[in-house]
Amino acid sequence: MPDLRTIDLEPAAGDPGGEWRGPILEVRDLTVHFPSDDGLVKAVDGITFDVLPNETLGIVGESGSGKSVTSMAILGLLPKTALITGSVKFRGRELLGLRENELQPLRGQSIAMVFQDALAALNPVFTVGAQIAEAIKVHHEVNSKDLRERGVELLNIVGIPNPSERFDNYPHEFSGGMRQRAMIAMSIANEPDVLIADEPTTALDVTIQAQVLEVLERIQDRTSSSILLITHDLGVVAGTADRVMVMYAGREAEVGTVEDIFYNPRHPYTRGLLASLPRVDGRRGDRLHRIVGQPPSLIVLPTGCAFHPRCNDARVPGPCNDQRPELHLVEDAHSSACHYAEDLPALSTTDLAADAEETASDD
């Protein structure tokens, strides 16, 4: 893999520059509410987290948990009707409330985004190469020859064969996995500090998924950027993330390292998610565990803990349906938003299987 760079990129405009030693991204009490005919949709309801330099933070949750909205809020891509409060700081600089022309220099340069469905996310009437070149052109003065070279180089970095031919192809001429790689190439064109990948593998086959995730890892090695990996798939997170944040109904459920989350989950929702993963070593005839019930309406959230109606361990009446649990430290760098986080027994895999049997017999 060639390590040369054909162009020297200026530091991003609007970037405080210099040395910044803190977390690259600091999100504090972010809420995003959408007014609707039926009431206020609380898509994100007060989340707080950091993204450290050169780490991969996985944000896990089902549809409607608010993970995508969070990422859009960071980049200021939400519709004007959205009511956003809280704070999002990039390298110490507040992003919320910035005007469009102040946000533009940051987008695609300091913070970049990769979207889910590359076929829909790429403009069908322009070549892939032109779109990659545009990503560079809007931030830097570069002549077309250099743009093309850099674009071809980027395609090469993400592992697309025949990059100089592919540069002139249109999005519909790529296969799904290639397209996703091309989108990744476009997003790293300016070597951003933060790469937000919103469900980058969801639309792909499992084998291609692995390849795309590998590309993301490789890029991170090269550029030392941070990656915010948003997904509903725990398997994706297990292999790629350093830390994981589990979201439910617009709120945080649990935050910790990958090991913490997988081996010592301290929130019933996380445990439910883990238990519902099909197991290679499961017995024949085992039923798939599922968390009973449905995700709640984001307009009328349950009182107290948002998860309590579906929680096996909920103590009702009690704090679970009465007070909203705050995210608090359970152990070193591992927090949970459950009133009884400490009391949940340490789990082993057999316990999770027992949980599954128990729930199955409840049906």
Partner: protein
């Protein structure tokens, strides 16, 4: 791309043949080329004329003969004026093309301009204004608009002329010409500008909420570029199809416009021919207009292929 165009051309020719045959048959059934002679005292005149014109042959044979002549450039003789249809048509086409070309260009420009503007400034006062005007434009019968326009702007205010394309014998293309052009072109276009601009607005709104527009914004592309480069290109594509489909309506509209404004074009020709049962003119008109419509549609297909690489490369 080339095979695509060739296939379309061949198919269009087939449609032209079938449609013109059916119309030919229909027209011959409706009108009698010898009707003028029926009042004559000599009863054999009609029979002889029928023989001469080949009207006793099988309809397919008649069509074949007519088509053969048509391809050679002989479209028959008008039973009304006894002039060669081909030369009549050439003259009429000259006038009509002026209306159509001006009309199409102005309509397209206005429709795209209004549509895009309304989409960008959705829910603003100008947007509501334009929406209201489009509703009225679509709902108003074009002939009434023409009559109103003549009455208000031609007669009462005297701003524009409303008879023919030139005053007196003039044929120059000057201000006087423009004064003659405004009202007929407006009448011809009012409905299509109204409907195309609404369509373009909708198309633009659809496109602006598309994923690839979000990607462009996420890349840091300035808003103006996002709209005019990323969104507009895609929003124009469906409009091209609509415009092509509406060319038939445009030719229909000519009939009304030329009648109201006393312009001697294709529309007027058809109108007169229909009133007097001038069979050859009607038949010739049908096939020539159909040919034009097909050409416009092919042209639109080509443009569509240019705009949308997904079509071009499949």
């Amino acid at each position: 791309m080339l095979t695509f165009v060739i296939r379309r051309v061949l198919y269009s020719l087939l449609v032209l043949l079938v449609a013109s045959f059916l119309l030919f048959w229909f027209t011959r059934q409706t009108f009698d080329p010898t009707s003028r002679l029926r009042a004559s005292r000599d009863k054999t005149v009609v029979q002889r004329e029928r023989e001469r014109l080949g009207l006793n042959d099988n309809i397919v044979v008649q069509y074949g003969n007519w088509l053969k002549d048509a391809v050679k450039g002989d479209l028959g003789t008008s039973s009304r004026t006894n002039e060669e249809v081909t030369s009549m048509m050439r003259r009429a086409m000259g006038n009509t093309l002026q209306l159509i070309i001006w009309g199409a260009l102005i309509s397209a420009a206005l429709a795209i301009g209004i549509g895009v503007f309304s989409a960008i400034r959705q829910y603003s006062i100008p947007d509501y204004l334009f929406t209201g005007l489009s509703y009225i434009g679509i709902s108003m019968p074009p002939f009434w608009f023409g009559l109103l326009a003549i009455e208000v702007f031609g007669v009462q205010l005297g701003w524009f002329k409303f008879v023919g394309l030139h005053s007196g014998d003039g044929s120059s293309y000057d201000v006087d010409y423009l004064k003659h052009l405004v009202l007929p072109v407006a009448t011809l276009c009012v409905q299509i500008v109204a409907s195309w601009s609404r369509f373009e607005r909708a198309s633009m709104l659809d496109v602006m909420s598309a994923d690839y527009v979000r990607t462009a914004r996420a890349k840091g592309v300035p808003r103006r570029t996002v709209i005019f480069k990323h969104a507009l290109r895609n929003a124009l594509i469906p409009l091209v199809t609509v415009m092509a489909l509406d060319t038939a309506a445009l030719f229909g509209g000519l009939i009304i416009t030329e009648r109201i404004f006393s312009i001697s074009g294709m529309g007027r020709m058809f109108f007169d021919a229909l009133l007097t049962g001038d069979v050859y003119v009607v038949e010739a008109w049908m096939i020539v207009v159909a040919l034009f419509i097909i050409m416009f549609n092919l042209f639109a297909d080509v443009i569509y292929g240019i705009l949308d690489p997904r079509i071009r490369l499949s």
